[in-house]
Amino acid sequence: MEPFQNFTGIVAPLDRSNVDTDAIIPKQFLKSIARTGFGPYLFDELRYLDRGEPGMDCTHRPLNPTFVLNDPRYAGAQILLARENFGCGSSREHAPWAIADFGLRVIIAPSFADIFHNNCFKNGLLPIVLAPTIVDDLFARANGAQALRISVDLPEQVLVLDDGTRIAFEVEAGNKERLLKGLDDIGLTLEQADAIRAYEERRRREAPWLFAIAG
């Protein structure tokens, strides 16, 4: 995973609560056995007027003009702004894959669903939880004639708006380090291999029924 770099980007305001992972990437695209190539199908049912199918060339598909990511103001957006409980529903990691593949790097919302939130950090995406009143203010700014630009500083845990307003945000220390260093979780866990083996040995004695998988 590439380390997370600070950046300044345009904010696309998706004014919906409970955005579910079925909406982020519909089920027909889950048939892919690859990890990449989901960006063109991000929010497929909201973004296009026709029915999307895997493998489709999206460059000539009819766009839904009312969908935020089709608004020229937000072209090249790297930050998505949404309402509460973003990413609810299915555990599909295809959702953060599609978001990252599209070019988004930060999602701001008042709350996230747990599995989605967790999946983001495995894929270089930074989900930021801000108070509902701050999110309201960001929506008002982002909906203006001029797109809102925000500078994201992960080491300092601060967002800087284009008028200089600074908004601090929280991020769990382990997740922050994972993003900043682009760490491989599995490699880190395997450094604990002895502890895992010792645990298994103890459990085989204490709870042998757990290891008696016949089948």
Partner: protein, 467 residues
């Protein structure tokens, strides 16, 4: 040591290592694998030259893409076919037990885990599928994970986790006749909302939960994720233990009794502290029907579709307006006046033998209404199907005009050929009524199996207790 919650007991038993940043390396006893969320995980293993840490801790089955009829013809969708074949080849390469499409034990992953006794009390169970919460019905800590974590578990048998908050939901007293586990859990989600459980593990308790069969408890825990919870849990009792006795993957003989002795301790201690407690009166719960595009958009059968003008919060009002527009419903419409086009009885929520019996009891001696274009019954597994056929349930359904299909996820998420067309309305025993979930433009109303059956034979939603 003070009084502990069931969650704290399960957590403490599985901590391999505590990190100074507050996260824990948690040992995973069981992983269920299906074709949709595993190919990239196996590919990751291969690219890194890694092997599964403990092969026997994994059990795989294709379910999301499998067709529910003409199995002999195989999968006609070439993309689906590749995905299922990829699972077959990955399991063969890494030595993982798989129930292939042709195996009589094949079925929906969350049906077969418990059915095979692969799910045990006191285990940690994961799967690349949010409805893994189902297995919490056995006093197991079970939760859905993403594909990166599927790979992590394959490679290390562990996950990096942070301890969740605890939410106790107690359903006090008993539900009335005709009110099922599905109605209980829909009423809970209506009460606490789809984000009500976020960051928490929910323990379901109270007399009404204790009175449920294991199938009913699985239905309740299955939908804990629809309340946003990390996992759902129900304490172990004799029903749990008797359900597992003799199952193929469960321990046998003395080992089973040793396990059972421990399993009986897997309940929250009296006086254990929960971060939040919600109590609901079971007797007040009526058969439920969702009207919108989120499981929290639910009302009792006597209710009506809400009016966004009655909602004070502008974001919520807009949510209601958008849902009504998508669902093609007017504010104030009585739920009884809503007429489905299709009926789907199945999914990891409601496709077990008890669900099929409940639906068959309503259907028996009746006919599917002429206005219903398609009524499907999709058993949860090959073994459920065989059991239902041995009881003659298949004939009850087919004589009434239902189609009796092969097991799989089917129209719950429409990855196979079973789907809604734009604008079609479905009474569904599945778990999600999101926009497009059952097919682009499809309109889903979540109900219990008995309520779906009642809608099938009358052509509109109706209180099953009045039939």
């Amino acid at each position: 040591m003070g009084a502990k919650t069931l969650y704290a007991k399960l957590w403490d038993e599985h901590v391999v290592h505590l990190d100074e940043n507050g996260t824990a390396l948690l040992y995973i006893d069981r992983q269920l694998v299906h074709e949709v969320t595993s190919p990239q995980a196996f590919e990751g293993l291969r690219l890194a030259g890694r092997r599964p840490w403990r092969v026997a801790a994994n059990l795989a089955v294709p379910d999301h893409n499998v067709p529910t009829r003409d199995l002999a013809a195989g999968i006609t969708d070439p993309v689906s076919k590749i995905q299922v074949e990829t699972l077959d080849s990955n399991c063969a390469e890494f030595g993982i037990t798989e129930f292939r499409m042709s195996d009589p034990r094949q079925g929906v992953v969350h049906v077969i885990g418990p059915e095979q006794g692969f799910t045990l009390p006191g285990t940690t169970v994961v799967c690349g599928d949010s409805h893994t919460s189902t297995h919490g019905a056995f006093g197991a800590l079970a939760f859905g994970i993403g594909t990166s974590e599927v790979e992590h578990v394959l490679a290390t048998q562990c996950l990096i986790q942070r301890k969740s908050k605890t939410l106790l939901i107690s359903i006090d007293g008993q539900v009335g006749p005709g009110v099922t586990a599905k109605d209980i859990v829909l009423a809970i989600i209506g009460e606490i909302g789809t984000a009500g459980g976020t960051g928490s593990v929910i323990e379901f308790a109270g007399d009404a939960i204790r009175a449920l069969s294991m199938e009913g408890r699985m239905t309740v825990c299955n939908m804990a994720i629809e309340a946003g919870a990390r996992a759902g849990l129900i304490g172990v009792d004799e029903k749990t233990i008797e359900y597992l006795r003799g199952r193929p993957y469960a321990p046998t003989g003395e080992l089973f009794e040793q396990g059972a002795a421990h399993w009986r301790t897997l309940v929250s201690d009296p006086g254990a502290h929960f971060d939040r407690v919600v109590r609901m009166d079971a007797a007040a719960i009526q058969p439920q029907v969702t009207w919108g595009t989120s499981p929290e958009m639910v009302v009792p059968i006597d209710g009506a579709v809400p009016d966004p003008q009655d909602e004070q919060d502008p974001v919520r009002a807009e949510g209601i307006r958008r849902a009504l527009d998508y669902m093609g419903l007017e504010p104030g419409t009585a739920i009884r006046d809503i007429r489905p086009d299709k009926i789907f009885i199945g999914s990891c929520t409601n496709s077990r033998i008890e669900d099929l019996r409940a639906a068959a009891e309503v259907v028996k001696g009746r006919k599917v209404a002429d206005s219903i274009q398609l009524a499907l019954v999709v058993p949860g597994s090959g073994l459920v199907k065989a059991q239902a056929e041995a009881e003659g349930l298949d004939r009850i359904f087919t004589e009434a005009g239902f189609e009796w299909r092969e097991p799989g996820c089917s129209m719950c998420l429409a990855m196979n050929a079973d789907r809604l067309e734009p604008g079609e309305r479905c009474a569904s025993t599945s778990n999600r009524n999101f926009e497009g979930r059952q097919g682009q433009g499809g309109r889903t109303h979540l109900v219990s199996p008995a309520m779906a059956a009642a809608a099938a034979v009358t052509g509109h939603f109706v209180d099953v207790r009045e039939l």
